[in-house]
Each structure stands twice: as C-alpha cells, then as structure tokens.
Subunit: 391 residues, 4 copies
C-alpha cells in the first residue's frame, strides 16, 4: 500500500510545481484559515490535479470528505490523499451501485460546503433533508448548472457558484485550450500533417473559433459550416470559406464537429465525403457524429491504431473515425487534456469561490449563480501576473 | 452647373458598382415600393456613398428632403442629387447658422420618416411639435442613440432604430475595418515599415483587438496596455505582452490609442517615451492624447508632412504627432475611411430598417432600439452570400 | 529660387530624421574622409531620399557631380543640393535629348567613382575612353548588373558592386517591403476590403511570397498560380490553394501578378474571370498583364478614379485595371514606395560599398560583383541594432 | 510466430493507406519492373514505414536483402517481411557485434543496388572488394553523404544519390515537419500551454524558422538567438525579438535549441535563467544542451514524468530538462516522428532515385550527388497533386 501512496505522491509533483496560482492560495489559506471548523464534501474526478486542489482546501482548515466520478478514480491518488488524513471513498473498479453508495457516504458525512460536479451532492443533500446544514458550494460543470436551475430550482436554500459560467474559462479553456489540444491530438493520434490539408470545422462558437484559428495557424486550409447567421458572418470576415456542411463534405478531408448539437454528421453528409475522410468530434457529448448509424451500415469496422477505426461503407468508400466520436482531445494513447495552466486557473476559480461561500455566504443569493465579478477580476489579474505578461 | 452635376455623377460610379447589397435592395424596393407616398427626411454627410443610399430609397417610392453635416457637404453631389429630383439643402461653405437653417428646412418639410444623425432631426421635430406626423426613423450614430435615450427619452412617440448598435457593425467595422485602416494609414502617412517595429496599443476593445491583430500580422511587435482585467486576460492569452502604459512607454516606438476614454497619453507617459516616438489616435474623439498640453509645453512644433508634426520638448527629446491626435485612419492626404463593403453593409442596415419603420412600425416600440434580430440575421446572410464565402 | 531651395530642404527633414543608419555613416565619414580628393559621379533619381545619401558622401569628402533619371528629377531638391555646393544637372521638364546631355556632362566631369543606375555612367565612360580614370563604382539595379555582365562584360577595367544582388534587399525589400506595400496600395487605391475576399497571386518568388503572406494575414483568401514545381510545392505546404491560373481565374476576384515574366494575364485568362475582376501587377515591368490587348478589344474604357480603369468587354463583362498594369505599389494619388527603413538599408549598402571602392579597390575584381560578404554582415548587424531588435 | 507476423501486418495498414505516392509507384513499378533481376541491399530502420517502401521495391522486381539499425529493429515487422519472401537479418535485442554481422551478411549477399544509411553498406562493399558489383545506390542521411564525400571520396566507383540533400526535404521536413512536431511534443510531454508563454529559439535555420513560426502561430511569445548576421536580420524582419542568448536567458521560460552546433546552452547560460526554466533540444545531435555538465553539478536529479527531469542546482534554482537533451520531437511516451505524408515524400524520393540508379546509372557520376533536378520536379508535382492543392 505504501508503494501505491508513493506513486500517487510522485505523480502530483510535476503538476503541483506548475500550478503557481494554487501554490499562492495555499499559502494565503494557511494564514486566513477560511475553512476552519468546516467540512468540505467533494464529488469530482480523483486524479493528481484534484489532489493539489484538496491540499489547498486542507491548508485553509477544511476537513475533507471526498469521492470521485464513476470509473475515473485513480487508486494511487486515493492512497496519497488518505495518507494526508482525508476521508476518501471509492476505487477505480467500483460498480455503479458502489459509486452511488460513495456519494451517499459523502452526503451522510454532513458537509458544510459542497464542491460539486453534475449537482450530485446538491441533489443528495436535498433528498436526504440535509440541505439546511449546508452553507453553500460550487458546481464545476455547465450541465450541473442547468440541473440546479431546472430540476433543483427553488429547492436549494444555499448559494452555489457555477464555475464553468466564467468568461475566463470560455476564453482560456474553450478558445485557446480546446483549439490547441484538438490540433495536437489530431497530429498525435493520426500522425498526419496539417499544412495544405483541407479541414471542415462544424460550428463557430468558442471551441470552433479556436479550432479553426489554430488549424489555419498550422498551415491547414480551413472551411467553416455554421447555421447561425451572425457567427457565419464572423467566420467569413475572419477569412474562412463558409458554406453548407453538405457542400463542404465534397471538399474536405478532415471533419471536426464543435457545435454542441446532436446529429451534425449524418449518413447524408458522410455519403458526400471523399474516400478516406477523417471524422472527429470536439464537442462535449459524443452525439455530433451519428456513430450508431455508421457502425450499423458498415460493411467492415477495423481498429487500425489507438483511437483510429476504419469504417468501410457498402459503396466501397471508407471513412476514418477517431475516438469513436467521443472528444478527440481526450483520446488516444496519451491524452493530456487541459493544460496545467488552465487547471490552475480553473481551480483558482474553485478555491476563491469556496472561500467566498465559506466566509461571506450572506453576500450571495440562494441557488445557482456565476462567479462574483470582483473575484473574476481578481483571478484575471493574478493569472496575467503569474504569466509574467508584462515582461 | 451641369459640369458640377456631371462630376457628382462620375464620382458615384465606382462606388455604386462595388455596393452589390444596395444594388439588390434597389431592385427589390422598385418592386415593393415600401416608401410610396412617404417623405424621408435625411440629415447625414452628403457625399457619393450617401448618394447611392438615397437613390435606393427613391427607387422605393420615397420623396427625399435632405441636408448634410456642417462642413462636409460636397457641392457636386448636391448638384447630382438635385438633378434626380431630390430636394437638398446646403453647400460646402455654409455658415453654422445656415446649416441650422438647413436642418430646420428639412423639419419644416414635414418628413414621415427620419434618416437621422446625432438625433438632430428627432430633436427638431419634437421642438417644432411635429413629432406626431413621424412614422419612425433610424439613427446612424452611437452618440445619437445616447441622446435619444437620455435628453429625448420619453419624448419621442415614434420608433427609432439605432444602426450603430448592430453586432455586425462591431465586427465588420470596428475589428476588421478600423484594424486594417489604421495599419494602412500608418504606412501611407509616415512611409515607415511595420515588421520588427515596436507598437503599443492602448485599449483592447473591438478596435484595439483589430489594431493589435493586424499590426502583428504585418510583423510588428505589439504590446497592449489595458486596465480592464478581463480584457487584459484576453490580450495575454492572445500572445501579447500586457503591461502598464507607463512601463510600455519606455519600450515602444509607436503608440496608438483606442480606449474611448480621455487623457490616456498624458505628459507623464510622454516623458517616459524614447526620443522620436510616434503618437496616433484611433478612437472616435480627439481626446485620448493630451494634445493641448503637448503643444503648450513644446519648444517647437514643425509640420513635416501632411498629418505629421514634430513636437520638440524642452528636455531635448521630440515626439511625432500624427493627425493632431484626431482619428488617424481618416487623416493624411488621401484617406479612404471605411471600405465600400463596410458602407454597403451599413447602408443595407439603414435601408431595411427604414423599410421596417415604413411598413411595420407597429411591431416596434417607441424610442431608441436596436436593429430587429430577424433583420440582422437577414443582412448577415446577404453579406456572406454577396461575399461569395461559399466558393 | 530660395523658396524652391527652402521647400527642398523642408522635404528632406522627416526623411533624414528616420534614416538612422545613414546618419551614423555620415558621422563616420566625417571622421574617416574616405572620399577626400575624389569626384563622385551620380546618375540616380533626384528626390529627397537620394539627397540624404549625397549629403553622406559629401560629408566623407566627396565632390558631387550628379544628374537624375529622365522625367523624375525634382526641381526643389536640385535647388537644395546646389545650395550645398554640389554640381547637379537636369530639371523635371528636360527633353530626352537634354537628359542624355546631362549624363554626358557627368561623364565629362571625369568622376573617379560612379554611383550608377542602369549602367549609364559605366557605358558613358567606356564610350568616352575615360574608364581608366575611374577607381570603381556601384550599380543600383539588377538590370544594370545584367548590362555590365553582358554588353559591357570585359570592357570595364574597374570594379562595380551591384547593390540589388544583396540578400538583404531580397528579404527586406522584396518579401516584406513589396508584400506590404501591395496590400496597402490595394486598399488605398480601391477602398475595398481584404478579409474574406478571394485573391489569386501569380508567381511565388520573393515578391509573390510576400504578397500572399500579407494578404492572408489581413484575412484574404489566397490562391497561388506557379509553374515552377519546387515553388508550387512550397506554396502548397505554406497552406495556399495552388492551381493553374486558368482554373483560378474562375474563382478569384483580385488577380496580382509577380512573376517577372511577360504575358501572364492573357485574353484567354481574362475570359474565364468573373464580371468585375480586379487586375493589378506588382512585377517590375508592365508586361505581365496583356494590357495592349485588353484596350484593343474593349468596348469601352472608363477612368473611374486615380489609377482605376473600368474596361468593358464585348461579352458584357467588365474588368477593373489598376495603374494601367504598371507597378501597383507605386501608383495612385499618394504612393509612398519603399519604406524609409528600406531606403536607409539600401543606401547604407551604397555608402559602405562606395567607401570600399574608394579605399580598397584592389581587394575587388574588375567588373560586376556582389556586395562583399563582410559588408553584408556588417550592414545586417547595424540594421538589427538600429531596429532595437534586442529590446 | 504467425501471431508476430499478423501484428506486423496489422501495423502497416493505417500507414500504407495514408501513403498514396508510394501506392502509385508500386503500381508503376509492377508494370515497369525496373529492378528485375536485381538484388537490393538495405540498411535502414526496420519499422512499418520502411516495410511499405520494401514492398514497393519488391513490386518492381527487386530481390530484397535487408537489415536494420542497431537497437531499433521491430521483430513483428521482420516477421511480416520474411513472410513476404524477403531476406531480413536482425532482431531488436541484437548485440552490437551481432548487428555488425548482420550488415556484413547484407554485403556478402552481393547486392547490385544499395539502400544505405550512414554509408554503412557503401563502406562495407568497398572494404570487402565488392564495389564493382554494385550498379549504384541511395544514401538516406546527411551524415552518410558527408562520409561518402570525405572518408570514401574517390573510392566509390558507383553513383550514390543523397536523399537528404533535397530541397523538398528541407521545406517539407525541416521547416514544417520539425516545426510542428516540436510544438506538438512540448504540449504532449509537459501538458503546459503555449499562448502567452515566453520561448527562446536558438538558431534560425530551416528547423529554427519552423519552430519559431509555429510557436508564434500558437500564441507563444518568441525570441530568437542567432549569431549569423544574415539570419538574425531575417528573424528581426519576421517580427521576432532578436538578441544574445545570454540576454534572452533572463527573459525566457522555454529554451529550444536548433543550431546544429554543440555547446549552445552552457552553464553560463543556464545560470542566467529563471527558476523552473524548461530546456529542450530539436537538433539532430544531443550536444546542444551541455547535459553532462548539468548532471555533474546538479544537487539532485528527479524524473518527474516520461521525458521530464527536474535538475536542482546548488544555488537553489532548478531547470526542467526534456528528453535528456535528445531530439524532443522523438521523445516521450508516444512520439510519432515525421508525419506519414513526409515519409511518403521521402520514400518517393528513395523509390524514384533507386529506379534511376537501376535503369540509367550511366547518366549519373560516380560518388555522392543530389537527387537529379528532373526527379525533384517530378516528385514535387506528384506531391502537390496528391495533396489536392488545386481544390
């Protein structure tokens, strides 16, 4: 067991050393002790970056009771956190039933503050009639925010700050982070080159803008398909070819979806593509490419390499499907996901929002709400300074 | 006189031939006749581009009664418009009193629809007690919009669509149009090169983003000064050096203001600049560079070329001031201002907004309001199609 | 006359103040006096930038005997130079016969050193049997270099350094200088926008690379036509669409030639272009667009604005011809030509090459030759330092 | 064994399907049979891409006798090739002595044509007195070319075409290929972000130009250190900060060497870097960063992750060394190396050069020489066409 703990400890070192914003907050919290006497319940991926966040909260006086998401818990990190005196439920091979029991265990520990994901803990404390003991919390995801504003609307007596609503995350993560990691992943997974290749980006929101920008910066020839007229206008003035996806299907070689909507790359679109077209999705949900239909009508499906499938179609053409239509920038043999700087930013948003909840809940309204403007500005200022942007 | 008319006619040809959106609306209006029996009163610069707009309205059945802005009326265009049967008041050399009389003449002609600028006609009809005869109108400028929403708030019984509020104008004109024309003007006026030169852009709004982007695209080394934390964050992730203007003053060679605020380049900032620094303003008002103080403390002011002044300072250094601190992209010997495509877009917004006012005023609310969303989308669609973006 | 002199003096001030490399050489020459007792004969455009070069040579002890090119001599600059004690022949309105007499006058003055253009002085001293009195010289142009290496090969007993052969000029002037001034000129002359517009660049040499790069940097959609396979390969990897000019004729809106070869845009190519296509040439000679044939078959030719002609074709289409097919970056109402920094670089090459000729002719071979490698490196070093590239 | 063979076969599929140029040559060779009756001896990495090349040669009638480089032979590919009837010597775990015996075995098989790497086979046939039986060959590497032109100069009676001399490889591989793979590798290995980060690129040759270009395209702030004055001039006009490496050491966060020279990042340079600086090498040899000295004076060396070492220095600072100073774009857990398109290009150069040797050796001179110009142009044409650059 101590070997597991040692491995978990080792894996946080590089990460911790490259998260200067969290390091600074840790020192501040050690002095301010905003969580003294408070129990923080967490439900979020248990992996090295999260471990660094939990250390920061513990330095601020928090007692930690945590569990992970189903299927992503890393046992060495669990061992490492337990070694630091935290209560952590869960293991990599937990069944779904066991995972639900873990979440329930966190709820039963009667946390004062929730560090939530998908609103699981919020729903849990409401169902258990324990909401009155909660001072407030944060919610990491947009979909958790939606749940708080619909299913749980009016039923949460405490404030919850939704981290993903932040403009800093839209620019830092969606435009730049996703834009770059998609280009990096395409190269890493397929070993194909970018310059001179023809790419079709479906969707010109924050992610699509970033993907198109960085593909072009790498010498790719990029066209954009976008049905929103105002975004299409922006894409055209940004210098991209802008046309219907059906028309572009005949021109492109690589097709990358980032629309947020289901059913973008349908059979009809695939049938206009050239032989050997490469399909990848960068949107959050694996529904933008109609993968089910592709598999159903394939004459043969061959796994060529990690995250690369060849799908032969009855008409003799084939397409290449990356990552089975799931987020391409999290796929392949060694995906890295968001950069350490982006995580440092995101977890700084978490830390200071949790402090606000712990020390000034009365300045907040009950229910879901964005990060307070003064915190956003404070965090933007710290990020720019940590970057040394003035040098 | 016929020579003047001929010159006015000739000068509209190139322009009309490069405004395909207006040409199409002219054909539609000739069929739909939205302005039949309506008198349109205009107060806007009388120059060739406006002449093309007035032709479009006339083709839609409008009776035109027009005047220009003080000091910018072009006599050959007046002659050309009168030759087409329009009533036009004003001449280049009008006194201010004469100009005001011209505006009053338009008001007295009892227009049903106003094509306004700075809310002069709106204020006029209210003052004259003629507002009830007005169906509605458009307002070209942001400052006119502000006047409608403050001084005239609640006193305008008819709807006025404020053209400059459009997102299409923010992207088409401010980011791309101003960004490029500032770079073009710097080269045209000074004959200096861009690559490798050090530029400081003050302000990272739509204009500043465009200026920074295009200077860097031309090989310039660009730093940004921005006090808004969220914009500074965006600039840093866009890859610019971001620092205090005072600090950047010591590093830069060219300083371009685009903040919208007065007193950006003060004596204190100038005093940290290197000898020979070049100062230019791209903001709407000539107040971002403290020109009055520069002149006051200069040991000598020398005009070196059109729009180039050398200002010697008591300490032996000198700075170069472009265009006396007025908008640099409208200065020098042959400024072109906004591109024909941008004007085509802006006047398409005008034309269809005026038609909406004329034919469906009841769908609008009284007072200032943005361009209706369906019109924005329709116009975006037409612009992208006219651009041939799908080819 | 003194008014003319005063105007000439005034016009050199801005220019001289922005040529720091020449200013430094002037100081060095005043100390080293490399031209003491030498007569320098010049045949080069007499305009303000050249005046600054002549001042530098005079500061080095040279006696100046100069004339200009036919048709470009600026009388105020002549007055200004004479006011400094130089001998200058020529005036703006000289006939060709008078111009030739002026060149002959320079030759008859028995110059020791030649600052030549098109090899006119070199040919003159050979014809006059005065070549033995010449220590050496420089030649500004590539075509002069060709003449020295063909017609005059073996007949020049003195060394001539050909300035235009320098790699520094290829990069500094052709790639960056021409690339940017073509984009600036297109905007200045036509008032059209770049983003989203479709451009076809014919030729992917140094100029074509620069033009394509800067049009794309400004948001233009750019395709390249190039028959050299290796350059086409480079263009394709640089991310451009690369195809036959005939094929691209149907796609483009703007066509810019930079091949160095005649007969690129022929009738056949024009006949595949869309109505309203804009044609411009950036190559040195006005032969890349077959202008003679365009005019010959035009149903009508209309001058729409300075440097803009509309050419109606018998089939009902029209094209727009800029600058009559001459170099577009030197055309229109206020062309600026090369940047002051580029001229500073070019004339630094001239100055130090002339010094080498004057003080170390024996280290050079007779006839045409490139700038000595050590001078190129010294000049590159000075340019980078003057730019403050290390800041 | 058949499982090994099956694995080798599977691993070539994705690769073969994305090398259209080789696929076409295979068909041509099957018709032309240029190698009928010829034995081709190969000494080159035995991995899937090479396997595809050998298939092409076999389709052209060649009898294949092959071995790999020491330490990189992939056993499954050996099994796969043997399954196709080729003679292949070597295994992954061969000792150096065994490897040398393998090369000797290829030589002893008396090949008529050599597909060589580092000139090992050429030296072997000369040493064995078997050079007269050789018609000619190709050499993959620059260093093999150097060996042929020095140690073996005058001793090779047959022509050898040096593939790496090709301009196509300089642009396709060095500028674009290495430039992009270095950026991709930095992100993949470190999980750090590019935008706003400060990079110092040492060396502005083809690789350095590519690295600087792509880092900047990704939003990095890039400075260049280059001692060659002409390259420094080019870098400055390309818009980079250009300064001494010592000076830049204090400013940068990431340092990437691409000079081709040893001893660039010395102790003195490291001592001026900020705490936590990241060091990577992109040059061919692992000598640009003085790694030996770094290790020697380190107070502690910690492996943080694959290809990431933390080196603590006695003064309390630390630096991060990537890939132990070896080529960073070939390091980490899942490096991909050159893109499939770049390999397709490189092996097309190989294939057609070997055909030229086999069928027209008399048109070549003995000894090392570049790829014939007509072949270069033919290959450029095919590459551009395969890219579909005209669409």
């Amino acid at each position: 067991m101590s070997e597991l703990l040692e491995r978990g400890a080792a894996r946080t070192r590089w990460i911790r050393s490259r998260m200067p914003l969290l390091a600074a907050v840790r020192d501040e919290f050690a002095e301010r002790r905003p969580f003294d006497g408070r129990r923080v319940g967490m439900s979020l991926h248990v992996e090295p970056k999260t471990a660094v966040l939990l250390e920061v909260l513990a330095a601020g006086g928090a007692e930690i009771v945590a569990t992970g998401n189903h299927g992503s818990t890393q046992d060495d990190v669990v061992a490492f956190l337990r070694g630091q005196g935290m209560t952590v439920f869960g293991a990599r091979d937990d069944t779904l039933a066991q995972h639900e029991a873990n979440v329930a265990s966190v709820v039963e520990a009667r946390p004062h503050i929730l560090l939530d994901n998908g609103a699981d803990l919020a729903a849990g404390v409401v169902a258990a009639g324990l909401a009155d003991g909660v001072v407030g919390g944060t919610e990491e995801t947009t979909s958790g925010g939606i749940r708080l504003r619909s299913e749980l609307a009016g039923r949460i007596p405490f404030p919850t700050i939704v981290i993903n609503d932040s403009a800093l995350k839209a620019i830092g993560e969606n435009r730049h982070g996703v834009g770059q990691s998609v280009v990096e992943s395409l190269m890493r997974i397929t070993n194909l080159m970018i310059p001179g290749r023809r790419f079709v980006v479906a969707g010109y929101g924050w992610c699509g803008r970033g993907i198109a920008q960085y593909l072009r910066a790498f010498g790719g020839r990029v066209a954009v398909a976008e049905i929103d007229e105002l975004k299409a206008f922006e894409a055209a003035l940004d210098g991209y070819r802008v046309a219907d996806l059906g028309e572009l299907a005949e021109w492109g070689e690589f097709f990358i979806t980032a629309t947020g909507h289901p059913g973008i790359i349908t059979d009809e679109i695939v049938d206009r593509m050239p032989d050997g077209a490469v399909l990848a999705n960068a949107g959050h949900f694996p529904w933008e490419i109609d993968v089910a239909s592709l598999y159903a009508r394939a004459s043969e499906v061959t796994e060529l390499d990690a995250a690369i499938e060849r799908i032969d179609l009855p008409d003799g053409r084939h397409v290449i499907l990356l990552a089975g239509g799931r987020m391409v920038n999290l796929a392949g043999r060694e995906p890295k996901g968001n950069s350490l700087e982006a995580m440092d930013l995101g977890f700084l948003l978490q830390s200071l929002s949790l402090e606000r909840v712990a020390t000034a809940a009365s300045t907040l309204v009950p229910g879901a709400q964005p990060v307070p403007d003064d915190l956003e500005r404070e965090i933007a200022r710290r990020f720019v300074r940590a970057l040394g942007a003035d040098r």
